[in-house]
């Protein structure tokens, strides 16, 4: 049960919800850049939502499906195809053995996720299957996928196994290379593609230390996402942000979505592969609910920041988790009714 990698894509790696508990040893969290798309992909194939999936970046891979596979593709739209036929996203899909699963360049968003029922069969390192690219651990041999790799998955158990059986029976009766459902989760957490993305932030610890003009411009002007952005951080260009006076900073923990400003005045939004500690002034902190939005912004596009309170951020988070719970329940009901 495996995918054979024909073309690896720009940066395709295995990621789950991250490697927590080891930051005090300098081990970074890693994990999916867009955790919501990862969770939904897993739920759609009957996996636990924190199982690992393939994370595709900007240009996706080309894979041979070596055995029948129940999979789901979520996140950015890379025009997935099975033997040339468009493959619908945000729903379970059962693909026939020997099919060619191909992804192109991202039309919308930046990252897509491919989950497979049973989960990928790679070792759990320090509690996680996420690939820690720089240290060469976790994921598939500690690295991004390369041509010729064979990425195995585990036999499905529990719910994933039930789903698989249903689908296998159904596929027997048809001649097409895959079957899918009419229902889907929708792309509810996907960023809008028109205009500037609006990113909600709470106040950073050093916000008050920035010059009044910089504090104002941070919220009033838009910033462009630089092409040097990666899994470690999104580098932004826009109005130069300066401190009111020099500030002595000592290294401290940083978290996902921390917006820090190095001396060149261009802010960086720290993402999944950030270091565990940083020493630049922090102007803002991206709300957890908007992390997936940032993760899906394409380099070259623009964003704006809008300030909210910690209380509002908590409420948004609770609402989002309720929505995900509803989707989870909906997927269960739909799956029970059969395909």
């Amino acid at each position: 049960m495996s995918f054979k990698v024909v073309k690896p894509g720009l940066l395709t790696s295995l990621q789950d919800l991250g490697r927590y508990g080891y930051q005090k040893y300098g081990v970074i969290v890693s994990g999916a850049m867009d955790p919501v798309s990862l969770r939904l992909a897993n739920l759609l194939v009957g996996n636990d939502e924190d199982e690992a999936a393939l994370e595709l970046t900007l240009v996706g891979p080309s894979l041979i499906v070596e055995q029948d596979a129940l999979l789901a593709v979520t996140g950015g739209d890379m025009s997935p195809k099975v033997n040339g036929q468009p493959l619908p996203m945000w729903r379970p899909v059962y693909v026939r053995k020997g099919s060619h699963l191909q992804f192109g360049a991202c039309k919308a968003g930046s990252r897509a996720y491919v989950a497979v029922a049973g989960g990928y069969d790679v070792p759990v390192v320090m509690g996680s299957k996420s690939t820690y690219l720089r240290a060469g651990i976790g994921g598939y041999q500690g690295r991004a996928l390369a041509e010729g790799d064979v990425i195995a998955w585990k036999p499905s158990a529990g719910r994933a196994a039930e789903y698989r059986e249903q689908w296998a029976r159904k596929l027997k009766g048809v001649s097409s290379d895959y079957i899918s459902t009419d229902w889907h989760t929708g792309r509810g957490f996907h960023p809008h593609e028109g205009g500037d993305a609006v990113i909600r932030v709470t106040r950073g610890s050093q916000f008050e230390y920035f010059a009044p003009g910089s504090r104002q411009q941070f919220y009033e002007k838009s910033f462009q996402v630089s092409t040097q952005s990666d899994r470690m951080g999104y580098r932004l260009t826009g109005p130069e942000l300066t401190l009111a006076e020099p500030l002595e900073m000592i290294s401290e923990a940083v978290i996902p979505g921390t917006v820090q400003v190095p001396p060149d005045g261009n802010p960086i939004i720290l993402m999944a592969d950030r270091q565990t500690a940083g020493g630049y002034p922090r102007i803002a902190q991206v709300a957890v609910v908007d992390i997936p939005v940032v993760a899906q912004i394409k380099p070259g596009r623009r964003l704006r920041f809008r300030e909210i309170t910690v209380n509002e951020a908590e409420k948004l988070y609770i609402q989002r988790e309720q929505q995900i719970q509803q989707m989870k329940a909906g997927i269960l009901v739909n799956m029970k009714q059969g395909v």
Partner: protein, 249 residues
């Protein structure tokens, strides 16, 4: 009441770190006493994590506590329904900080790190000596005679931020950073000294190399060093370096 309570206690500041973490600060500046309090609170929280706590990351002057806000709110009594997760965690952490043992607990662990200095192991040793008007062997003597406190681990997996280096061997970073520094390199940057656990680019002046693995992903913990340890460097010969290589001490 709370104001009065705080008097006579350690001054701590608690800040929200978005909606998923809080940062507790024990003071400003790189100071062993402040760092000891940081480690005491970290130890307290780790030995008895509160429901919803994910992990603690200690730094020079602060502890950052990551939490799952739904789990934190679920544990709160109905009375505190209007309280935010941030308020619940802040109160809890403040209480822990007030009640924790503040006196130094036992002897710090001392970890000896064997280093082969100079030559191809430390290509910048001669420069560091020249910069400080010393001989290379004087630099080695000064570097090996120090006791270095591990303030925190960060920057790279297993990388110790060490305090206590003699200013007599302080040397500015290289003007152009190396693209790749081998794992095990021992370097100096300004008044800091450190050991690179994995291959990274960097601008440190390299004075030697250790055969010890500082990052051990298969072990628990995965880092040779932990915050609070005391590090001593010991000079070894190239032959001893080869002997040690891959070995565990």
């Amino acid at each position: 009441m709370r104001e009065a309570e705080l008097k006579g206690r350690d001054q701590i500041e608690i800040y929200p770190y978005g909606e998923s973490a809080v940062r507790i600060e024990f003071g400003k500046g790189i100071d062993p006493e402040i760092n000891r309090k940081v480690r005491a609170l970290t130890a307290n929280l780790e030995s008895e994590p509160f429901p919803g706590m994910i992990e603690c990351v200690s730094a020079f002057t602060s502890v950052t506590v990551f939490y799952d806000l739904l789990a934190v709110r679920n544990m709160a009594s109905p009375l505190s329904e209007s309280q935010s997760a941030y308020e619940i965690v802040s109160d809890l952490v403040r209480e822990r900080a007030a009640g924790m043992a503040t006196e130094a607990s036992g002897q710090a662990r001392t970890v000896e790190i064997p280093v082969c200095y100079g030559g191809s192991f430390g290509p910048d040793l001669a420069y560091v000596a020249e910069h400080n008007k010393l001989t290379p062997s004087e630099v080695i003597d000064i570097h090996t005679s120090g006791e270095y406190l591990v303030y925190m681990i960060g920057f790279a997996p297993g990388f110790p931020f060490l305090g206590g280096m003699s200013e007599r061997i302080a040397t500015p970073r290289r003007s152009s950073p190396r693209l790749s520094i081998p794992a095990g390199s021992v370097g100096i940057a300004g008044k800091q000294t450190g050991v690179y656990p994995i291959v990274t680019p960097g601008g440190w002046q390299l004075i030697g190399s250790t055969p010890l693995a500082l990052f051990r992903p298969e072990d628990h913990p995965p880092s040779l060093l932990q915050a609070g340890d005391v590090v001593k460097f010991r000079a070894i010969t190239p032959a001893q370096y080869e002997e040690f290589r891959g070995g565990r001490i």
